[in-house]
Homo-oligomer: 332 residues x 2
């Protein structure tokens, strides 16, 4: 049986473009014992993929030239040589960008909660939701009345962070890249304040105005100058959860900026980098809580759905242009 | 009764010099109810004092022009209008730089453990020792077999940090500014490795060689490029205790350098600024443990003792030239 696949054709120097990807047709091997033939339904594109396109050491390994991109996929089993997964079952896995693929059952998880849109398992009920949950609650440790700032606030992770902060009784400021996103955060997602950093003439002042009692918790998805502005308003014993640095991913070399250490020292503040897999043994807890909040309507989750397998590269590139409101998904 | 006092004459722009201080004679007020007349015996000079000489917001308030410098002092009560402190008692307090001063008993602590050198209460059994204790144990959380790096390792705090790390079973690298200090750390204070950053041709490489299993805990007293070199070797889930940034204290403006956040993100590492007063309610615990370790000979404590009240300004300036091995003290 054959399939389309999308491979890494070349490594981007700075901003990725379509030439870094190649679509090709290959023949799949036969399904062996404990393997399943999966047909892709929903594909996740995520900012961390940009790091894997480099040949440098990061917290996850690099994609190889000529090999398919790998990411979160929700698919349907169409052939199985395992008792655990039957044809017709819906599965989640980290799979190659192929229309169909043969996967070991070890890397697949059966999705039981089919009352939710299947794409949610790549978003609010998947890695982005769990990232928001553990980063905000375990590192940020929000208390009612505290001020939480989220950068990349309209993204797949940020929009969940902000709503969990609201549930905790915090005052929440979201920083985003368009007026429309800022408006949506306030009117539909319960954020107290939202700033469009692209049109704000003085971001330091704007954050100060939006956070009159200073910043207790900063959930950082973007890094760079947006973070500098937030950090200038940190309160005593503030906490920074460093989830992503998307503003720096496309810049070659070591990013330079104001040193963070004097800021942390003068406020007895803390900054913690993390990746969601650090919390692997607590995924069950996080998932169940997110399911409850989504059912109760306390967390709403926007998605930007692009149609067509061939659109995967441009959807990924679109993340770095801020094309997405909420989770960016490619649907077949 | 009159006294000499040393006041802040002007604020230093960069490196402090003797012109920033003025010695003058004043007449003291009479001792009132609940006050004590204290004669100074030992005066502490500490790096944090440089920050108080600025007019900027820091974690402690600024010294005022024309007002005496304030710091840790061990003295003898020579007159008292309180039942709690009698003439002849040895007391510790944050007191003005005066040969004698009238102080409220609220700010004084009677020193009972007179089997130790009195200067120890400004060092290993005082704020520097407690700073080392809480910063390393509470933030660094060292485990046996881990690698601990200390910058400013021959200073009042650093030399205690290294020895506590040895007690915890860690491999310890100290970074210092002279070959003699480096030698002492290894031969007398139990450090496994020591680097003189001033003569090291490639500090990144030198730290890598001294820490073949990477860096689990970095106790940072100095900041700047020394810290950059250490941070390039951080292990997964490493922890940085930010205690001081002495290399930056004399530079005007915002210090610029490689951004820390991407480093913390890629290693799921943590950086925490702190000041010892955050641990005020646990001072008893820390003090008792330090007393035990000093009695057992597990912590040895060098002091650089300068004689004469008038030497206080030059002793303070000397800290920034690295004149001191261990705690810098001015003795009357």
């Amino acid at each position: 049986m054959d399939t389309l696949q999308i491979v890494l054709a070349s490594r981007p120097q700075e901003f990725p473009n379509l030439d870094n990807f190649k679509t090709e047709r290959i023949v799949l091997p036969d399904v062996q014992e404990d393997e399943v033939l999966v047909e892709g339904l929903y594909y996740s594109v995520d900012p961390y993929m940009r790091g894997r396109m480099n040949d440098s050491k990061s917290y996850i390994s690099s994609y190889q030239i000529g090999e398919p991109i790998i990411g979160g996929v929700v698919g349907k089993a169409i052939e199985s040589k395992s008792d655990k997964i039957k044809p017709g079952d819906i599965v989640l896995g980290r799979l190659p960008w192929r229309t169909r693929t043969v996967a070991s059952i070890k890397g697949l998880q059966k999705i039981e909660y089919t009352q939710f849109p299947l794409s949610y398992f790549l978003g609010v009920l998947g890695m982005p939701g769990l990232t928001a949950y553990f980063g905000l609650l375990d590192i940020g440790k929000p208390k009612a009345g505290q001020t939480v700032v989220v950068s990349g606030a309209a993204g797949a992770v940020g929009i969940v962070v902000g709503q969990i902060a609201v549930i905790q009784g915090c005052r929440v400021l979201g920083i985003v890249g368009s007026d429309k996103k800022a408006e949506h955060l306030k009117t539909e997602y319960g954020f107290d304040e939202a700033i469009n950093y692209k049109t704000s003439p003085d971001l330091i002042q704007a954050v100060g105005q939006a956070c009159p009692r200073g910043v207790d918790i900063y959930f950082d998805n973007v890094g760079g100058e947006i973070s500098d502005a937030v950090i200038s308003h940190l309160n005593f014993q503030a906490r920074i959860a460093i989830c992503g640095q998307i503003s720096l991913y496309n810049s070659p070399g070591t990013p330079i900026g104001p040193r963070l250490q004097p800021q942390l020292l003068s406020r007895s503040a803390m900054a913690q980098g993390f990746i969601v897999s650090n919390y692997q043994d607590r995924f069950g807890e996080g998932f169940q809580q997110l399911v409850r909040w989504v059912k109760e309507g306390k967390i709403k989750y926007p998605e930007t759905i692009v149609k067509g397998f061939e659109q995967l590269p441009s959807a990924l590139i679109g993340l770095f242009k801020g094309d997405n409101m909420g989770k960016m998904i490619v649907k077949i």
